[in-house]
C-alpha cells in the first residue's frame, strides 16, 4: 500500500481552525465542540467520521454557509491566510468564496443547477469575481474543462447537468471550484454518490489538480478506503469532536483511540469470507432466462423499451447467500424486483421453493408470497410511519390467516431475534435509528419464515459500524433459519463479507458468476477486474491494521 507521505511541515498553513464550536440556535447542544485543525499548502487533510459526527458542519462553517436560524458558530476562529473568516462581513466573505476557498459536494446531480447550462455555471464564477470579458471567460472555462479531462468540451459547455453522467458532473463541479485557483478546496464526500470506477477517476483527478496548483484540500469522507488513497493527514471525528489526528499511515497502522479502532475494524474486508462447504440442499430459488424490458408501449407512437435485464440464470440453495454485484444501472435491482414480482418479468422463469411464479397472476401469487421476502435499502421508508412495529410485523402472518395472538407472540420472538427489546413492538418507526429500523425490517421479513430473503442494498445506507452489525445479524439468522439470501449490493467489500457466491452484472447482463472467493480474488472478466482495481484502499486490511497478505 502506497500512502501519501510527503513532508509538509515546511509548507505554509492555509487554513487553521482553532477551538471552533457550533451550536443549534437557541439551544445549548453543541454540534461541534472546540475542534482544531490545520491544512497546509499541497496537503490533503481527511475528516473522517460516521453520520452525525459533525464533519459536514465543519466544512460549511468554513464556507460560512451554515443554515441561518438553525446553526451558528458559538466560539473559536477559522483563519485563512491570516484572516479570521468569522469576523468578515457577508460581502467580504462572499468575495473569499470561490476565489480563496472553493467547495465540491457529494451529489453532483443536485449540486448543479438543473436549469442552467453547465458552462454558464462555471462562467458565472468568473463573471462574479473577475472583470474578464465574455470571450475571455468562455476561453477560460473551456480551458479548465479541458483540465478536468472532460470530453468534447464545447458540447458539454452547452449541456445541462441531466445530460451528463455522474462522473462528468463531478468534473464540472471540480472545474467550477478550481477555475479561480483557490488556496483551499473543501471536498465534502465528493465520490460517495459515484460508482466505484468513476470514484477512482475523480480521486486521481483531484490528486492531479492538487499537485499542479498546490491547493490545500480538506477532504471529508466516511470511507476508510478513500482515506487510505488520498489523505496526508487524518482527523477522526465523533460526536462533534476530533478524537484523533495523525498522518494517514500511522493512523491506519497504529490507531491510538478506541473509536478509531472500532471504526477501522468495522470496515469489511475485501478478502472473501471463508468458504462454506457446498451444500447439497435443494435449490429454493431458481431463475432461468429472465429478461425485463421497461416501457415500450405508447398510445400513438410505439417506442423501444429499455432493456433492464437479460439472460439472467442463477439459483440459490437453502442456507447460502448469493450476491449480485454491479454499479448503478447494471440491472441488479431490476432482478431483485422481478423475483419479488414487484415488477413483472418480460420473459423467463422464476421458481421459488419449486413453484413457478413469473407468470402467475397477482391474485394467484398471493398464497406463495410468504416463501420469499424482501428487505429494502432505505430504512426510513421501508416501514409504514403510521403503524406500530407490532402492526407492521403481524401484517404478513395475519394475511395468511394466523390468529393475532399467535402472530403477536411470533413478533415478540422475532423482535428479540433481531436484537431489540420486546417493548419495541408498541412503538412507532420514528422512535428508532436507521440500523434498528433495518433490524425491524428483517424481523418483518422473517416473520413469514421465508425460504428466500432478498436484501436489496440492505446495508448501503448505514454507517460502517452499524453495517457490520446488520451483516452479522443476517449471518446469524441464516444460520438459525436456514434461509437462502439473495444479496444485492454495489459494495464489493460487503459482498466479500457475506456472500458464498457472487454474480457480477453490467449493462443488464451477467458478466461473471461463481464462488465469491474465485470471483473476487481471481476475476476472469475484464469488468470484474476493473471493479476490484478501482476499490479504494484495496491493498490494506483495515481491520487488522496492516497490508493485505494476498496483495
Amino acid at each position: 500500500m502506497q500512502f501519501k507521505t510527503a513532508d509538509l511541515s515546511a509548507a505554509p498553513v492555509v487554513l487553521s481552525i482553532r477551538q471552533l464550536s457550533v451550536g443549534l440556535s437557541g439551544e445549548t447542544t453543541k454540534v461541534l465542540d472546540a475542534i482544531s485543525l490545520d491544512v497546509r499548502e499541497g496537503e490533503t487533510a481527511c475528516l473522517v467520521g460516521e453520520s452525525g459526527s459533525g464533519k459536514s458542519v465543519t466544512s460549511l462553517a468554513v464556507m460560512g454557509l451554515l443554515q441561518k436560524g438553525s446553526l451558528e458558530v458559538t466560539g473559536g476562529e477559522i483563519v485563512l491566510d491570516g484572516n479570521d473568516l468569522l469576523r468578515l462581513t457577508p460581502s467580504q466573505m462572499r468575495r473569499i468564496r470561490a476565489q480563496r476557498i472553493a467547495m465540491i459536494f457529494q451529489e453532483p446531480m443536485t449540486a448543479l443547477n438543473p436549469v442552467m447550462r453547465v458552462g454558464e455555471q462555471i462562467a458565472e464564477v468568473l463573471k462574479t469575481h473577475t472583470d474578464m470579458s465574455a470571450g475571455d471567460c468562455k476561453a477560460r472555462v473551456l480551458e479548465i474543462m479541458e483540465q478536468v479531462h472532460l470530453p468534447e468540451v464545447p458540447r458539454i459547455y452547452r449541456s445541462y447537468p441531466h445530460q451528463l453522467s455522474g462522473g462528468q458532473r463531478q468534473r464540472i463541479m471540480i472545474a467550477m471550484a478550481l477555475v479561480l485557483e483557490p488556496k483551499l478546496l473543501i471536498a465534502d464526500e465528493p465520490t460517495t454518490a459515484l460508482d466505484v470506477t468513476t470514484q477512482a477517476q475523480i480521486l486521481s483527478l483531484i490528486a492531479e489538480l492538487q499537485e499542479r496548483h498546490g491547493t490545500a484540500v480538506l477532504f471529508i469522507t466516511h470511507d476508510m478506503g478513500v482515506v487510505a488513497e488520498v489523505a496526508h493527514t487524518v482527523h477522526v471525528m465523533q460526536h462533534g469532536r476530533i478524537v484523533e489526528q495523525a498522518p494517514v499511515e500511522s493512523l491506519l497502522r497504529r490507531p491510538r483511540e478506541d473509536y478509531t479502532r472500532t471504526l477501522l475494524s468495522s470496515v469489511p474486508s475485501l478478502v472473501p469470507r471463508h468458504v462454506r462447504a457446498e451444500s447439497r440442499q435443494q435449490e429454493v430459488l431458481e431463475v432461468r432466462g429472465m429478461r425485463k424490458v421497461y416501457g415500450g408501449n405508447g398510445w400513438f407512437l410505439r417506442r423501444p423499451g429499455t432493456l433492464a435485464a437479460r439472460d439472467i440464470d442463477f439459483s440459490v440453495v437453502r442456507g447460502r447467500t448469493l450476491g449480485i454485484v454491479g454499479e448503478s444501472g447494471s440491472g441488479k435491482s431490476t432482478v431483485a424486483r422481478c423475483i419479488m414480482r414487484l415488477v413483472d418479468p418480460t420473459e423467463g422463469e422464476v421458481r421459488v421453493a419449486g413453484i413457478e411464479i413469473a407468470r402467475l397472476s397477482r391474485r394467484a401469487l398471493r398464497p406463495h408470497r410468504k416463501h420469499f421476502q424482501v428487505v429494502f435499502q432505505d430504512p426510513f421508508r421501508s416501514l409504514n410511519p403510521r403503524w406500530t412495529i407490532a402492526m407492521s410485523l403481524t401484517e404478513g402472518p395475519l394475511n395468511y390467516g394466523m390468529r393475532y395472538s399467535e402472530s403477536f407472540a411470533r413478533a415478540e420472538e422475532m423482535i428479540e431475534l433481531v436484537g431489540l427489546p420486546r417493548d419495541s413492538l408498541h412503538r412507532y418507526p420514528h422512535q428508532f435509528s436507521g440500523g434498528q429500523r433495518q433490524r425491524i425490517a428483517i424481523a418483518r421479513a422473517i416473520m413469514m419464515r421465508p425460504d428466500v430473503l432478498v436484501a436489496d442494498e440492505a446495508v448501503s445506507a448505514l454507517d460502517v459500524s452499524v453495517q457490520a452489525q446488520v451483516l452479522k445479524l443476517l449471518g446469524d439468522i441464516q444460520q438459525k433459519l436456514g434461509v437462502a439470501i439473495l444479496f444485492i449490493t454495489h459494495d464489493l467489500r460487503v459482498a466479500a463479507q457475506i456472500c458464498d457466491d457472487v454474480i457480477v452484472m453490467q449493462h443488464g447482463a451477467i458478466v461473471e458468476q461463481g464462488p465469491a472467493a474465485a470471483v473476487l480474488s481471481a476475476p476472469r472478466h475484464e469488468y470484474t477486474q476493473q471493479l476490484i482495481n478501482a476499490a479504494p484502499g484495496r491493498h490494506w486490511d483495515f481491520a487488522n491494521f496492516r497490508e493485505l497478505e494476498t496483495a
Binding site: 419479488m340 408470497r369 424482501v374 429494502f376 432505505d378 403510521r386 403503524w387 406500530t388
Partner: protein
C-alpha cells in the same frame, strides 16, 4: 394503545395517522385562531338561545338603523336585527362550509382511491375530472343552484361538485406516490391484497392531506356561498346566511355599511381562522415541510 388486543384496524390506522411527533411547535397565531373559531362556532350553534330578536321579524319603522343599544349592530333594509341575523346566519354558513368540505372529501377520497389504484378506471375518471375542473367553478355552481333551486342543500351540492376533482387529484397523487413506497411494496410482498393495501396503507396516507384540504374547502365554501348570494344564486333570503345578508346589504353599503362590514368581518375572521388552522395542520402533517424545518 395498540396493545395485543386488536388486529390492525381502520381505527388504528386513523389514530396512527394522527399520531404525530410530540414536539409540535404551535405559535400564538393558531391558538388565537382556534379560540376565535370556537367562539364563532359556539355562538352560531347556540344563537337561538340568546339572540335578542327573531332574525326574520321585519319592522318597517326601524329600517337600516345604525348600531344602537336596542340593535347592537343596527338593522337591515327590512328592519331586521343585524346581530341576530349574523349569529343565526352563521349556522347555515358554517353548515354549508362543513357540509361541502365533508362531502367533497368523502366523494373525492372514494373516487381518488379508485383512480389511483386502478389504471383503466383512472383514464376515464381523470378525463371527467379534467372536464369538471375546466368549467369555472362559480359558473357551474350558479347553474347548479338554478337547477336545484336555492336551498341550503343545493348550494352545498353546487359547491361540492366543482371541489371534487381537486380532492380526487390530491388523493390520487398521494396514492400514486405512496404506491411506490418501500413499505407498500413490503406489504405486497407480505401477501396483502389490493383492497387491504388501499385501505390500510394508502388511505391513511391521504388523511393528513385531506384534513388540510378539507379545512380549505370549508373556508372556500363559506366564501363561495357569499359570492353565489352576491350573484343572485344563493340560499333564499328567508334563511339568513352570511352571504345573503351581505348580498342584500350591498345595495345599502353607503347607507348602512355595517351590513357588509360586520357580516364581512365575522365571515372573514371565521375563514381566516379556518385557513390558519389549515396551514398549521399542513405544517404539522406535511412531512416534506417537517424535514425542511429539521
Amino acid at each position: 394503545m395498540a396493545h395485543a388486543t386488536q388486529p390492525a384496524s381502520a381505527m388504528q390506522a386513523l389514530l396512527g395517522a394522527l399520531s404525530l411527533p410530540r414536539r409540535w411547535r404551535i405559535g400564538a397565531g393558531p391558538i388565537i385562531a382556534a379560540v376565535v373559531l370556537l367562539v364563532i362556532v359556539l355562538s352560531a350553534l347556540l344563537a337561538p338561545l340568546y339572540v335578542p330578536y327573531d332574525p326574520m321579524q321585519m319592522n318597517s319603522l326601524n329600517r337600516l338603523q345604525p348600531a344602537t343599544a336596542d340593535h347592537l349592530l343596527g338593522t337591515d333594509q327590512y328592519g331586521r336585527d343585524l346581530f341576530s341575523r349574523i349569529m343565526i346566519g352563521g349556522r347555515v354558513s358554517l353548515l354549508i362550509g362543513v357540509g361541502a368540505a365533508v362531502f367533497s372529501v368523502l366523494v373525492g377520497l372514494l373516487i381518488g382511491l379508485v383512480s389511483g389504484f386502478f389504471r383503466i378506471a383512472d383514464a376515464i375518471i381523470m378525463r371527467i375530472m379534467d372536464s369538471l375542473m375546466a368549467i369555472p367553478a362559480i359558473l357551474l355552481a350558479i347553474a347548479l343552484v338554478a337547477l336545484n333551486g336555492p336551498s341550503v342543500w343545493s348550494v352545498i351540492v353546487a359547491i361540492t361538485i366543482p371541489e371534487v376533482p381537486r380532492v380526487v387529484r390530491l388523493v390520487r397523487s398521494v396514492v400514486l406516490g405512496a404506491r411506490e413506497e418501500p413499505y407498500v411494496e413490503a406489504a405486497i410482498a407480505l401477501g396483502s391484497g389490493m383492497f387491504g393495501i388501499l385501505w390500510k396503507h394508502l388511505m391513511p396516507n391521504t388523511l393528513p392531506a385531506l384534513i388540510v384540504q378539507g379545512t380549505y374547502i370549508c373556508a372556500s365554501a363559506i366564501l363561495t356561498e357569499a359570492l353565489l348570494s352576491f350573484l343572485g344564486a344563493g340560499v333564499s333570503t328567508e334563511i339568513p346566511t352570511w352571504g345573503n345578508i351581505m348580498a342584500e346589504g350591498r345595495t345599502y353599503f353607503q347607507v348602512n355599511p355595517g351590513l357588509i362590514f360586520w357580516t364581512g368581518a365575522v365571515l372573514s375572521l371565521c375563514i381566516l381562522s379556518i385557513n390558519l388552522l389549515g396551514d398549521t395542520a399542513r405544517d404539522m402533517l406535511d412531512p416534506r415541510l417537517k424535514k425542511r424545518e429539521a
